[in-house]
């Protein structure tokens, strides 16, 4: 009669568990969310395509066809061609590699740094925590966008630098989230119970704290990817991100803008792919959040 208990005790919802339910339960709940599952499939498809691009792309990356010029979608070129006669489908596929790679890798970097920083800070508590969080606060106040632009201008448009710069921006919020979660967990009695059993700090972190922080980390990581991709696209659009001959969706969009009146498909298709990817990531992230902690209010 746990359900009754829930309604009787507090008529306004107050979750008693921590971090939601377990993986299998969460997976079942996720499966019910059609939108999230659809998003998962779409993302899976895009990732596989991106990896296999060099093998399955219909045309070469640099293959120009100057006689052809820009043509709208046709049976030869499903998504049309650009002013140099390059096949758009191919260019978009190659662009996906960069956009997705930046998205996942930079998020990964942010994840690692953020989780370690936040967990260490939250678990240590006291002065160490205050100090580590003060650093986060100061860095948070820095207008990063401007700095990234500055870095790109000064040191050139280096892909590695881009990864690092973007990762350096996103880890801050992750650190805050993880620290908050660790602090909440620390206050739970089972941590004290573990201490009273004599478990070492490391054992407690490993067995008791980390498994309970995983859900918000997963959710937030999934939501960081689109924000990173957006950042990269934004920079590339301004001409401050990826340089040719590499291309990303952002860069393709900026090219498309230049000729959008005559050749609208040049902006439409890259834009479509970017938007669909962002949508899918966001829906998946929302779905994960609902599945892993169904009592969180949406957004």
């Amino acid at each position: 009669m746990v359900e009754v208990h829930k309604y009787e005790e507090k008529l306004s919802y107050k979750p008693k568990d921590l971090g939601g339910s377990l993986w299998s339960d969460g997976w079942i709940r996720l499966k019910k969310n059609k939108l999230a599952i659809a998003s998962l499939f779409i993302l899976g498809f895009l990732c596989i395509t991106a990896v296999l691009t060099p093998i399955i792309a219909p045309y070469g990356y640099e293959e120009q066809n100057l006689l052809l010029g820009a043509v709208p979608p046709s049976s030869d070129h499903w998504l049309g061609t650009d002013v140099f006669g390059r096949d758009m489908l191919t260019r978009i596929m190659y662009g996906s590699r960069i956009s997705l790679a930046v998205g996942f890798i930079a998020s990964g970097v942010a994840l690692c740094i953020g989780v370690l920083w936040g967990a260490l800070s939250g678990y240590s508590g006291g002065r160490i925590d205050a100090f580590m969080m003060r650093i986060v606060d100061i860095l948070y106040a820095l207008p990063f966008m401007i700095f990234i632009i500055l870095l790109m201008v000064i040191f050139g448009r280096n892909l590695l630098l881009l990864f690092l710069a973007i990762g350096a921006v996103e880890w801050l919020t992750m650190a805050r989230i993880v620290r908050g979660q660790v602090l909440t967990i620390k206050q739970q009695d089972f941590i004290e119970a573990a201490t009273s059993l004599g478990l070492s700090h490391w054992t407690i972190i490993r067995r008791h704290i980390i498994p309970n922080t995983l859900s918000p980390v997963i959710v937030y990581a999934t939501l960081t990817v689109p924000s990173v991709m957006l950042l990269e696209a934004f920079l590339s659009f301004l001409g401050l991100g990826i340089q040719p001959p590499q291309s990303s969706w952002g860069l393709l969009i900026s090219y498309g803008v230049e000729t959008m009146e005559e050749y609208p498909w040049l902006i439409f298709f890259p834009g479509l792919f970017l938007s669909i990817t962002l949508f899918s990531l966001n829906f998946l992230g929302d779905g994960l959040r609902d599945a892993l902690d169904p009592r969180a209010s949406k957004d």
Partner: protein, 558 residues
């Protein structure tokens, strides 16, 4: 004609897991000026029933399936929203269990107080303020002008509840519903609030519906009682009948779950001292997270340079092997801090602790770890004392494996026998904490605590968060296990009657100090300190005749 007549009230909750029948065919009648108590454990439907009278239940998933509630001639359940609004807060008022969360933290007390008058009686804000001020005085809040401009967090729990009462009564309603109004308060405050409600009820001839999980609390105030279980009224009648002549099994069970009387006989204890505490002091620095009424008082009383609160202030006592040592006090008295410091979960600031003649503070690390085997703790909140990501098996196995009391070959045998000891089915081993009820989780927590066969256990309010009938079971379990394994126990609680049932000796704490320390029988028969007497006087007696006697003495004392 009666004030309120409820017939066959039925309320269901529709969720994706099915239908929960929260209230089934509830009927009762309430007259002007009468007090009706609705008593039940969690899940009984007592709150849902009252809330549905005023349409306060969340509508999906809740639904009033059937029933009538005739109040003053009209059926509350079928009224239009606008008409019902005119009744809410005006003719029927409600006060809730947790005043801190029931008051809007962003508005002043005064602002919230005048709202019912302004919207129901259509008076101007100035007139309303006047009424509000006199109401504040009437509920016992001194300095009403000051309180009027306070924000809720600036008041203590008791004061907040008084403010809520003022807010409910300012329109002189005919019916007041009190939903567990004292559960979140200290026992001495509880008595004051109940007396206040009684006084106002008599003065303004208000009918009261008093909801509680505690039969003892309502003994002195109810004219009629309904006992609810699983949504149904199991028994109802006048108070004396219910207490002296209970008819149903469940009511009898409720009555017998109230711990009464002395500790049961036990063949006793050696005189050897197991734990010795000398001049223990524990400071807590006051930072943003611990802003509470207590610390606020400390601040304004002494100079504002003091950034520390003495949670444990020069405490000394010893505990003999085999005894059950009770520590009693209200919230903030330091009893929990005392327990945690003894167990070395936080460091002490001054004083010494000797366990088995060893000084706990100076032990080398390896000995400290092995000492942990012998001292364990049972925590209060069954919902946070178990790791939600570990199965029952893992939780129980951890202490055994860590302290090498079992190997991977025989661990299964050990854990299963432990599960038997705590009274759970063996299949529980594979399950996760959220699949269990509060009482069952507490059993698991107890199992973890006794796994290493410790010599000493500190139980920090182990049953306070549980239903009354479950409390009794868990207390029995604790007693049996301590006897079986010959354990010494320190039992911390705010509930004197529970402690009386278990403890050999009792220490009464207030503001970090031990105010009185004596054997149980001495404390209950001839307590010497004023505070102890206050505490004793506040214990609800589950005996209507005794309560009436006590009330009359208090009245005549005035």
């Amino acid at each position: 004609m009666s004030l309120l007549s409820v017939e066959d009230l039925t309320v269901h909750f529709h969720s994706r897991n099915g239908i929960t029948k929260a209230v089934r065919n509830l009927s009762f009648v309430l007259d002007y000026g009468e007090t009706l108590a609705i008593v039940g454990e969690s899940g009984s439907g007592k709150s849902v029933a009252s809330y549905s009278l005023l349409d306060l239940i969340p509508k999906p998933p809740g639904k009033i399936e059937a029933g009538k509630a005739i109040f003053n001639g009209s059926d509350l359940l079928t009224l239009e929203t606008l008409d019902l609004q005119k009744i809410r807060g005006n003719e029927i008022a409600i006060i809730f269990q947790d005043p801190m969360s029931s008051l809007n933290p962003y508005l002043t007390i005064g602002e919230q107080l005048i709202e019912p008058i302004v919207y129901h009686k259509k008076k101007s804000r100035r007139e309303a303020k006047g009424l509000a001020l006199s109401m504040l005085t009437e509920v016992g809040l001194n300095g009403p002008d000051n309180k009027f401009n306070c924000f809720p967090h600036e008041l203590s729990g008791g004061m907040q509840q008084r403010a809520m009462i003022a807010m409910a009564l300012i329109t002189k309603p005919k019916l007041l519903i009190c939903d567990e109004p004292t559960t979140a308060l200290d026992v001495t405050t509880q008595t004051q609030i109940i007396r206040l409600i009684q006084k106002i009820q008599k003065k303004y001839k208000i009918a009261v519906v008093f909801i509680s999980h505690d039969l003892g609390v309502v003994a002195g105030i109810a004219d009629k009682i309904i006992v609810m279980k699983d949504g149904e009224a199991v028994e109802s009648g006048i108070t004396n009948d219910i207490f002296y002549n209970p008819k149903t099994q469940y009511t009898k069970k409720l009555l017998s779950s109230i711990p009464r009387g002395e500790k049961r006989e036990k063949n006793y204890t050696s005189k050897k001292v197991l734990l010795e505490v000398n001049n223990l002091v524990k400071y807590y620095p006051v930072n943003q997270d611990t802003f509470s009424w207590q610390t606020f008082k400390l601040f304004s009383a002494k100079n504002t340079e003091k950034r520390y609160v003495k949670a444990v202030d020069d405490v000394s006592f010893d505990i003999k092997r085999g005894e059950i040592f009770g520590v009693v006090g209200e919230s903030g008295c330091g009893k929990s801090s005392l327990g945690k410091t003894i167990l070395q979960l936080t460091s002490l600031d001054e004083g010494q602790i000797y366990f088995s003649d060893k000084n706990l503070v100076n032990l080398p690390l390896s000995e400290k770890i092995s000492m942990r085997k012998h001292m364990q703790m049972i925590f209060q909140d069954p919902y946070s004392s178990l790791n939600p990501r570990m199965t029952v098996f893992d939780t129980l196995a951890e202490p055994l494996l860590y302290h090498s009391l079992a190997t991977s070959t025989n661990i299964q045998k050990h854990v299963l026998s432990l599960i038997d000891d705590i009274g759970l089915p063996r299949i529980s081993a594979k399950k996760y904490p959220h699949e269990f009820s509060g009482g069952q989780r507490q059993r698991i927590a107890i199992g973890r605590a006794i796994a290493t066969k410790p010599e000493f256990i500190i139980a920090d309010e182990p049953v306070s968060a549980l239903d009354v009938t479950v409390q009794a079971q868990i207390l029995e379990l604790i007693l049996n296990l301590t006897e079986k394994h010959n354990m010494t126990m320190m039992f911390i609680s705010h509930d004197l009657s529970v402690v009386r049932y278990l403890a050999d000796r009792i220490a009464v704490m207030q503001h970090g100090k031990i105010v009185e320390l004596n054997t149980t029988s001495e404390i209950f028969s001839s307590a010497s300190e004023k505070y102890t007497k206050e505490l004793l006087g506040a214990i609800p007696l589950a005996d209507p005749k005794e309560e009436k006697k006590r009330q009359n003495t208090i009245m005549s004392d005035r």
